[in-house]
């Protein structure tokens, strides 16, 4: 393992060194594609697999002859969970490496940090993670869920009889733009359902927070006042100590269910899930979804992980942002073929209305105007093997509402992408 990693590191540095010299020669034969995911730091737990998924998808497209007769050439950079570094690296990708498109970012704060760069240089970013909405840039395509495709249906489920008929809500999040905005939307939504402010508690922790004693004690205290559900927007590896503390303090899913928006199969790999059975997650895809497209997708991924000897390859799992990455790359490739060019403006036009048969079991459509995918919503329960079993799902994919109607002033926003908002 050591030797292989060393070789990998060597080839990476060699390729970076060679890039400056040889891109002009190669540009004629390949299309460069940027991959911008943290491979170290607190977000590495979530983002590393997206990089690998992007590489696998590119490899598959290349195996079928590439796009417009040209092979795709991935350029991988590591912004190291460091938000300003995201902007720097994306500028490097767009100006030095001259990539046609970038697939990347997980946290909203990283997306917000690269957004001005993409708008200034007219780049193209595919963002594969569920987020808080309130954004619609012409230079970004959002293949993850907007709040109405994840957060709001999840809360509706918790309020339903099957979800436990929750009356009180504990909103717990990491302290940055995504949890704060999502909770703002959820609070307005809960108000509209007649939940009073005294039945909503909002708590934030710093990134990488690891001591959840006080917070779990507070959840316990809060839950004594009536049927409570926790809505967690905790991001990254902080989830592990949070769930450990929940289990150690004896808070079970039957008493207080936790529904998480950032915990998927990949995050659960690092924990013993037996004490977590029954806690929920809301996504648009789960590995356990049963359909032929997904069976193929999961098998491909497991084979790829084994062939490339990724860390923990024997327990490789797929998750929602990986599926969104996969769908995004394929849609971009389809649009490039349709536009017969990688020119950003032409590709953007060709992307409107693209469809793709996704592993979630639905044919997903890129909306004609709002740059978001139409996605189905699924609520899954954690099982003791680290997988989710779907307990509820929508019949049809929903159209995204990036400008949430629960935030005042959004009714005046245009339903098409405009720069600088």
């Amino acid at each position: 393992m050591k030797r292989r990693s060393l070789i990998k590191a060597f080839t990476l540095s060699a390729s970076i060194a060679a890039m400056g010299l040889s891109w002009t020669v190669q540009a004629a034969e390949t299309i460069k594609v940027g991959i911008l995911h943290s491979l170290s730091g607190t977000m590495a737990i979530s983002e590393t697999s997206l990089k690998d998924m992007a590489l696998m998808t590119i490899e598959q497209i290349n195996a079928k002859g590439g796009v417009n007769g040209k092979l795709l050439e991935p350029v991988v950079v590591d912004p190291a969970s460091n938000w300003p570094l995201f902007a720097e690296k994306s500028r490097q990708l767009l100006t030095q490496d001259k990539v046609a498109v970038v697939f990347g970012c997980w946290t909203s704060v990283s997306r917000k940090s690269v957004l001005p760069v993409f708008e200034e240089l007219n780049g193209l970013l595919f963002y594969p993670v569920q987020y808080e909405g309130e954004e619609m840039s012409p230079n970004v395509f959002y293949t993850g869920a907007a709040p109405n495709q994840q957060a709001i249906p999840a809360v509706e489920y918790l309020m339903s009889e099957d979800g436990g008929a929750a009356k009180r809500f504990f909103l717990l999040g990491t302290d940055y733009v995504y949890p704060r905005t999502t909770n703002k939307i959820l609070r307005a939504f809960l108000h509209s359902k007649g939940v009073a402010d005294k039945d909503i508690e909002e708590v934030y922790t710093p990134f990488g927070h690891s001591d959840y004693q006080t917070i779990v004690a507070n959840i316990k205290k809060f839950s004594a006042g009536g049927k409570t559900a926790v809505i967690s927007t905790v991001n990254g590896d902080s989830n592990v100590p949070f769930y450990k503390e929940l289990a150690n303090q004896g808070l079970k899913a039957t008493d207080v269910p936790v529904v998480a928006f950032s915990v998927g199969e990949e995050e659960l790999r690092g924990i013993d899930t037996k004490p977590l059975v029954g806690h929920l997650a809301a996504w648009n895809y789960f590995e356990s979804v049963d359909n032929p497209v997904n069976t193929q997708f999961v098998a491909d991924w497991k084979a790829y992980a084994k062939a490339k000897n990724l860390p923990g390859a024997d327990k490789a799992v797929t998750n929602d942002p990986m599926e969104a990455t996969y769908v995004g790359i394929h849609m971009w490739a389809q649009a490039v073929e349709k536009a017969k060019s990688t020119d950003v403006d032409k590709v953007r036009e060709a992307l409107a209305g693209q469809t793709f048969k996704a592993p979630s079991g639905f044919t997903l459509t890129m909306d004609k105007t709002n740059h978001h995918l139409h996605k189905p919503v699924m609520i899954g329960e954690i099982q003791d093997d680290g997988q989710f079993s779907v307990v509820w799902q929508t019949e049809q994919p929903l159209r995204a509402q990036p400008w949430s109607p629960f935030i005042p002033g959004n009714d005046k926003r245009p339903d098409y992408a405009v720069k600088g908002n």
Partner: protein
């Protein structure tokens, strides 16, 4: 006694046909829709039947029967109802301990439909503890009884508990439109005050405990630094990486034990302790001999060099183990917690870590104050030249002391791996806290570090519920800066002519 005999006979009589019926229940249950399943479970809870015990226990495990492989789908609502129905059935058990656990579960989950059944069990229960627990479960339901006298008795009984749920139930009775009888309302007020007092005690104890727990973690992180920085005066920026090496040693030991001796997996953290100490101490001594000893007396260069070393160590671990966190599992004896009060659970892992931290402090203190090595270390730190004149091998003492500090950090890493994430950046998140503890406690003082660690831990946990984790951390930093301004030597300063 005749009653028990009677029910035993009855059970025996019904045994044959019931066995067949239990299998029928399972079929019936699996065929039903979730809503029907819910009402089925509610019905079973109100009228328990010993023959269903097996089915319900299996349902709790997520199966239909011990050897039934049909797929069962439960959601949280159904799981709660299964727990409740099972508790109802377990009240019929012959074992008083089983009945007690069942009654305690029913205190949380009993439904109005179960009143009649609970009443009967309450009247016939022989065991005093179970009797009392059943009384409480019943009292929860009797708050809405039609007879004011029953309500009054229930309210008085609830005042005796420290159950957090009792508080909400009693609060609802204060409203004159809900509770029409003024005597019951007054009794509810008294009981509420009692319950609140009990809850407050639990809360305060909980806060004190989490403060102690955070303090013990800070102490384990800082203790090694108290030696390398405090006694030797090396500004060791690579200290965090010694913690990380300890945590990774734990991971490696876990993997090896899993592969070669799966039977002993429960005790791998104990096995990891000497390994982590050895690895960290070895790396520490190597660094001291190759880099740090050339830089004694040049603090700025030491700082830069050790910072560089820390980056090298992080990258080395990344190349060896990958950038992602590795999974370090808690053994069974470190999972779960001890229920002390109705609103206070002390997790075992944290209890063990507090004890472990104190043990390490004690051992370090003994080593420094009761052994020849300790004497030499103290001699060298107080006056190097004089110690050298007296024949103390200062170079070797430096190396051993640095190794000791690093080894203790390795031990801290083992403890940290049990409560947090193990990744290449683990050390980075503790290095600042470690320096804070050592500087606040007073450089060169073990006792200072002890007080500073627990002080910081408790202050942090007292502030957190009031102003949140983010602001709390900022406020603590600001307070420490103010304190150091006023008292640069820290909490405990060495008196006299020692050190310079």
């Amino acid at each position: 006694m005749p009653k028990a005999l009677h029910s035993l006979l009855l059970a025996l009589l019904l045994l044959l046909p019931l066995a067949a019926r239990a299998a029928g229940d399972a079929d019936y249950f699996i065929a039903a829709k979730p809503n029907e399943q819910a009402s089925l479970l509610q019905g079973w809870a109100a009228q328990p039947d010993p023959a269903r015990l097996e089915l319900l226990s299996s349902l709790q495990q997520g199966r239909l029967g011990p050897d039934d492989s049909r797929k069962l789908r439960l959601n949280n609502r159904l799981r709660g109802l299964v727990d409740n129905a099972l508790a109802s059935h377990r009240l019929l058990s012959d074992d008083a301990r089983v009945r007690l656990a069942a009654a305690q579960q029913l205190q949380k989950s009993a439904q109005p439909a179960q009143v009649a059944f609970l009443d009967r069990r309450f009247a016939s229960e022989p065991d005093a503890a179970v009797h009392a627990a059943l009384g409480l479960a019943l009292a929860n339901l009797q708050l809405v009884a039609t007879d004011p006298a029953v309500r009054l008795a229930a309210v008085r009984l609830l005042g005796e508990t420290g159950d957090p749920m009792a508080r909400t139930r009693l609060e609802s009775l204060l409203d004159p439109s809900v509770e029409t009888d003024p005597t019951v309302r007054t009794a509810a007020e008294t009981s509420l005050a009692q319950v609140k007092r009990k809850l407050l005690i639990g809360e305060l104890l909980g806060q004190a405990f989490s403060g102690l727990s955070l303090g013990s973690i800070l102490l384990l992180a800082a203790l090694g630094l108290a030696i390398t920085f405090g006694l030797l005066g090396v500004i060791n920026m690579a200290h965090g990486e010694m913690l990380m090496l300890g945590a990774y040693s734990t991971y490696v030991v876990q993997v090896l034990v899993q592969r070669y001796a799966p039977g002993a997996l429960d005790f791998y953290p104990l096995l990891a302790l000497p390994v982590a100490f050895g690895v960290s101490a070895g790396v520490g001594m190597l660094l001291e001999r190759t880099v740090i000893r050339h830089l004694y007396g040049r603090p700025l260069e030491t700082l830069l060099a050790t910072w560089g070393i820390s980056l090298i160590l992080i990258q080395a671990i990344r190349l060896l183990f990958g950038a992602q966190n590795v999974e370090v599992a808690n053994p069974a004896w470190l999972s779960g917690g001890l229920q002390v009060l109705p609103n206070l659970v002390l997790p075992y892992s944290r209890l063990v870590i507090i004890g472990f931290a104190l043990c390490v402090v004690l051992l370090t203190w003994l080593l420094l104050n009761r052994t020849r090595l300790g004497l030499n270390v103290r001699a060298v730190t107080q006056n190097r030249n004089m110690a050298a004149c007296c024949g103390v091998p200062t170079g070797r003492v430096d190396m051993l002391a640095f190794g000791l500090g690093s080894g203790i950090a390795g031990l801290g890493g083992v403890a940290l791996s049990q409560i947090g994430n193990v990744g290449p950046d683990l050390g980075q998140s503790y290095i600042i806290d470690s320096f804070l503890v050592v500087v606040l406690g007073g450089v060169g003082q073990l006792a200072g570090s002890l007080w500073a660690a627990f002080g910081l831990g408790i202050a942090n946990k007292l502030l957190e519920p009031q102003i949140g984790a983010v602001l709390g951390k900022i406020l603590i930093l600001a307070l420490i800066i103010l304190f150091i301004q006023k008292r640069p030597q820290g909490l405990f300063a060495l008196k006299g002519r020692v050190i310079d």
